[in-house]
């Protein structure tokens, strides 16, 4: 009788061990770092892109200063072109914002939870601004 009790106990222990091995947690740390690299690469690419013989950051700063760029409203132009860049280069949903001294100049898509890029400070002769990008999850 004692032997059968031992067998039952062993079966329970084996079952618990099997559960422990099969429910081994898998972290998604590498996914986060990949998204972080993508976010930083994208914001850098947006910042540098040529537009009207100048660069996108010039258009963003013009927008924050309420100026025209390329004979058009700078904010509308920057918004349209950055939207195209985001749609063509990433499949993920992306939030982008440009601000100047905590005043939002313009944003693309709605704020979300996700992986943020590092803040980029852009500057030229006309002024300065800060751009941020987030890949939503």
């Amino acid at each position: 009788m004692v032997g059968l009790v031992i067998i039952v106990l062993i079966l329970i222990v084996v079952g618990l061990l099997f559960l422990r091995f099969s429910l081994d947690s898998k972290d998604n740390l590498s996914d986060k770092s990949v998204l972080s690299v993508k976010a930083n690469n994208l914001i850098n690419a947006i910042r540098l892109t040529s537009i009207c013989n100048r660069q996108m950051y010039d258009a963003i700063i013009a927008c924050c200063n309420g100026l025209e760029f390329c004979s058009r409203d700078a904010c509308q132009l920057a918004n349209e072109e950055i939207n195209k860049i985001i749609n063509k280069s990433l499949e993920e949903y992306v939030y982008f914002e440009a601000e100047n001294q905590n005043n939002l100049c313009f944003s693309i898509n709605s704020e979300c939870q996700g992986i943020s890029s590092t803040s980029n400070f852009i500057r030229n002769n006309e002024g300065e601004a800060q751009i941020n990008l987030k890949i939503c999850r």
Binding site: K38, N44, A45, K88
Partner: protein, 152 residues
């Protein structure tokens, strides 16, 4: 059946069960360990593969190099030049295909950076990231997509 005989049968059953459990446990543990080592090796390779989207844009073979500037971009003229000697980089890239697609404002032209595809492979993994590309001829910056395919 007498009580003594019953206890003998029970003992035999328990010993048989112990041996069975020991063998099953050994097989299971061995399989788990081997699988774990294989999984760790694959994870390491995968991590190295994922890191390429950060490493390639910063490699001196591709990155823009201007005086007094911190522009992080890929110089297309370097990419075209690299294409001629790309076979020498098998030790670094292995069985992969690396390409750059000019997505804005370009015409989605694909530029091959490196290609070494094995004759037979089980799986193909793809990772991509936006990058800034510099066209030396036009002196313009475009947005490209760096696409890396890994065959194993």
């Amino acid at each position: 059946m007498r009580r003594g005989e019953l206890q003998i049968y029970e003992s035999v059953l328990v010993i048989f069960f112990f041996i069975l459990m020991f063998l099953l446990g050994f097989i299971f543990f061995n399989k788990y360990t081997v699988d774990n080592v294989k999984e760790q090796a694959l994870k390491y390779e995968e991590l190295k593969f994922q890191e390429l989207i950060a490493i390639i844009p910063s490699m001196y073979e591709f990155r823009c190099s201007f005086s007094f500037s911190d522009y992080e971009c890929i110089d297309l003229s370097k990419v075209w030049a690299f294409n001629r000697i790309s076979k020498d980089y098998f030790n670094i890239f292995g069985y992969k295909k690396i390409s750059i697609k000019d997505v804005y404002p370009g015409d989605e032209e694909e530029i091959l950076v490196y290609e070494k595809v094995p004759r037979k492979y089980k799986t193909r993994r793809i990772i991509s990231s936006p990058i800034s590309i510099y066209n030396t001829m036009e002196d313009t910056y475009h947005v490209g997509v760096l696409r890396i395919e890994w065959y194993y």
